[in-house]
């Protein structure tokens, strides 16, 4: 069963948070961001997450909490926020009406672009550059979603309670990496390779990572054939994998 609060945290930090990387990696995002004045948009979800997304100099940055912003959108519940993200609820700002055009045009275009990369068509995936960008973005979404599920989902919490302190490297060989950090069983994610990981789980290629994300190959068989390597504190990876199993449920 999906927990709406956990889903809201995933939508905020894993989905919207990956706008940071979308703006960095995807050329089509450029025209939506260049030659624009800096603008900050804050979502404040009652009983759930809050974050401020700032667009400046062609880059995007998401910070937790409501910071100085041009547009503020309070959302009455986690369910409604999840509706905002899946497009079934229209957000209503309480501040920044004069920036509404950004919300309805540029921000909307960026989120549509994000959807194109996170729910790609087979046709788009045939383009190698698109394939790589899409898979990289998926890696970030999944890595951040793991932390949200470990922190908020009831069963995910149980898994996180069994993860010892330290950093786990979740990576694609010669490609992108993320750090899942655990401190006192609270998880957080950084979209970079850790300096001193206690455990590493690495996919041998971006193609394999994609196939795994799409559920087309068996992870245990991949460990057996060496295309997924794991080392270090395997109990950290083991418990994160149990959370990873729930990521698919939330992102379906």
């Amino acid at each position: 069963m999906l927990d709406q609060k956990t889903l809201a945290y995933i939508n905020m930090f894993a989905i919207l948070g990956t706008l940071e990387n979308l703006c960095e990696l995807v050329p089509e995002a450029g025209p939506l961001l260049t030659n624009k004045k800096p603008i900050a948009l804050a979502f404040d979800v009652k009983g759930g997450p809050s974050a401020t997304i700032t667009f400046e100099n062609g880059k995007c940055r998401l910070e937790p909490g409501v910071q100085a912003c041009n547009i503020k959108i309070p959302v009455g519940s986690c369910e409604k926020f999840n509706g905002v993200v899946d497009g079934t609820v229209t957000p209503l700002p309480v501040k920044g009406f004069r920036y509404i055009k950004f919300l309805t045009k540029d921000f909307d275009a960026l989120t549509k672009l994000m959807e194109k990369y996170l729910r790609p068509s087979e046709e788009d995936l045939a383009d190698l550059a698109f394939f790589e960008r899409s898979t990289t973005l998926m890696l970030y979404v999944i890595s951040v979603a793991i932390a949200q599920i470990g922190d908020y989902d009831e069963i995910g919490r149980f898994s996180a309670d069994h993860v010892p302190d330290g950093d786990v490297c979740f990576s694609i060989k010669d490609g992108p990496a993320a750090t899942i950090h655990c401190k006192n069983h609270i998880l957080s994610t950084e979209k970079r390779r850790p300096q001193n990981p206690r455990a590493i789980m690495e996919f041998e290629s971006i193609e394999l990572a994609r196939a795994l994300f799409d559920g087309k190959v068996n992870a245990l068989a991949c460990i057996g054939n060496g295309s997924i390597t794991m080392r270090g504190m395997i109990n950290m990876i083991d418990n994160l994998n149990r959370i990873l199993d729930r990521v698919a449920l939330y992102l379906a």
């Binding site: 245990l220 460990i223 057996g224 054939n225 060496g226 080392r231 270090g232 395997i234 149990r242």
Partner: protein
């Protein structure tokens, strides 16, 4: 020293993956077995003898995992196998169970100090499940106390809420307490007064990825006292440790009596039988269970078990295993120190757990383990080991040589650390 290759293992594994989920599933497979890196490990075996097994590439290994426990006298022990083969010629899985079952039950009751009866099945999981059902049947209560880091099998009740295929209701009556933590146990008992059927634990904490922990002085005696006071059935899971610490049962070894005690691995030296033993007061409850299996009363494993237990008793096996283990572990410690490694050894010697503690990640440990495996010493990086009677002084010396070379390889690979 020769460094093994595993080309045929790989070929067989690829074939396996086509027809068997994940190729080799479970604890003997590369994922659960922590074959890190997988290229350095044998994936499929060919034969075994004494303390050795050979993989499909013809590489020989001194086996310190002993099939994760069953091999206690040595693979193909002549006395045990002769008894099994003789029985196979006259009957195995038959409508009328063989009198061998009665003989083995009598032997178990005579051998295991806390046993008044014996109930047979096949795997450890069968008898831990029987123990839980028996405790619930006897007490008419539903909750079970587990010790964190536990492993009692693979049935849903033994798993955790986040495991694939397990639903919250499977584990909703499971309570958890830390090992050696009597105050926490007392709190748990007070919070769940009148609802607890059983306390289940291994004789000491031999969980994976953790230094194994022995019972603190007086721990088991206090647990026994609390279980008696609160009307809770005390279950000892001796599946892993049984017969290696004491033939009388590991509860006797630590100076207390379980109400129910579960055996499997070392009963019959690899012939498949498990056994739940218990006290007289709970015999009626186990009798009431609707719980049986097609092969549970097969005679061949009973005959093997009788020969095996008699031989273990005649040999005074636990003391011999301890002596061999101490010799092995002293040498490993010395070799590690000489090479600049801090090798921590924990648990009981016959089931030793190893960990290199120079780093906090197990990276060095896993590298060292893999180098040992690749040179013919089969250690595990995540699990306690098992010693068997067939391991010789020469095998132990060879193990020390392999360990030494493996330490040197790891040291050479990490000039930044040494």
């Amino acid at each position: 020293m020769e460094v093994y290759k595993h080309d045929k293992s790989r070929e067989w594994f690829d074939r396996a993956c086509k027809v068997i989920p994940s190729g080799v599933y479970g604890h003997l497979g590369p994922a659960e077995g922590n074959f890190i890196p997988v290229s350095k490990w044998p994936l499929l075996g060919d034969r075994a003898e004494g303390t050795y097994f050979w993989d499909v590439d013809g590489n020989r290994y001194i086996d310190y995992m002993c099939a994760y426990g069953p091999n206690v006298l040595g693979y193909n022990d002549p006395d045990v196998d002769a008894a099994a083969i003789a029985q196979a010629k006259i009957g195995n899985c038959v409508t009328s169970p063989s009198y061998k079952m009665v003989e083995l039950a009598e032997l178990m009751v005579d051998t295991v100090k806390s046993a008044d009866w014996a109930f047979f099945a096949k795997n450890g999981n069968d008898v831990t499940t029987a123990a839980i059902m028996t405790a619930r049947a006897h007490t008419h209560k539903k909750k079970i106390i587990f010790v964190n880091g536990f492993y009692h099998g693979v049935a849903p009740w033994t798993q955790k809420i986040d495991y694939p295929g397990v639903i919250p209701e499977d584990v909703s009556n499971n309570l958890y307490v830390d090992w050696n933590d009597i105050p926490a146990l007392e709190t748990l008992l007070a919070e769940n007064e009148g609802e607890i059927a059983a306390f289940i634990s291994t004789p000491y904490m031999h969980g994976n990825y953790l230094d194994n922990q022995l019972p603190a002085p007086g721990y088991w005696q206090k647990v026994r006292e609390l279980c008696t006071k609160h009307g809770i059935v005390l279950i000892v899971d001796d599946v892993r440790t049984g017969f290696r610490l004491a033939t009388e049962g590991s509860d006797a070894f630590y100076g207390f009596e379980a109400d129910l005690i579960c055996f499997c691995k070392a009963i019959a030296n690899g012939w498949n039988v498990s056994c739940l033993c218990g006290k007289e007061f709970i015999k009626g409850a186990v009798s009431s269970l609707s719980y049986t299996g097609s092969y549970w009363m097969s005679a061949v494993p009973f005959a093997a078990g009788i020969a095996n237990i008699n031989k273990m008793r005649q040999l005074g096996l636990p003391a011999i295993l301890k002596e061999k283990a101490v010799k092995l572990l002293d040498g490993l410690t010395k070799t590690a120190t000489e090479n600049g490694f801090r090798l921590l050894i924990s648990g009981e010697p016959a089931l030793f757990y190893l960990r290199i503690a120079n780093d906090d990640s197990l990276f060095l440990h896993q590298e060292w383990i893999a180098e040992c495996v690749q040179r013919g010493v089969f250690f595990a990086g995540h699990h306690n080991h098992f010693l068997n009677y067939a391991v010789s002084d020469e095998d132990i010396s060879f193990t020390h040589e392999v360990a030494d070379e493996a330490f040197k390889v790891v040291r050479k690979n990490h000039p930044e650390l040494f």
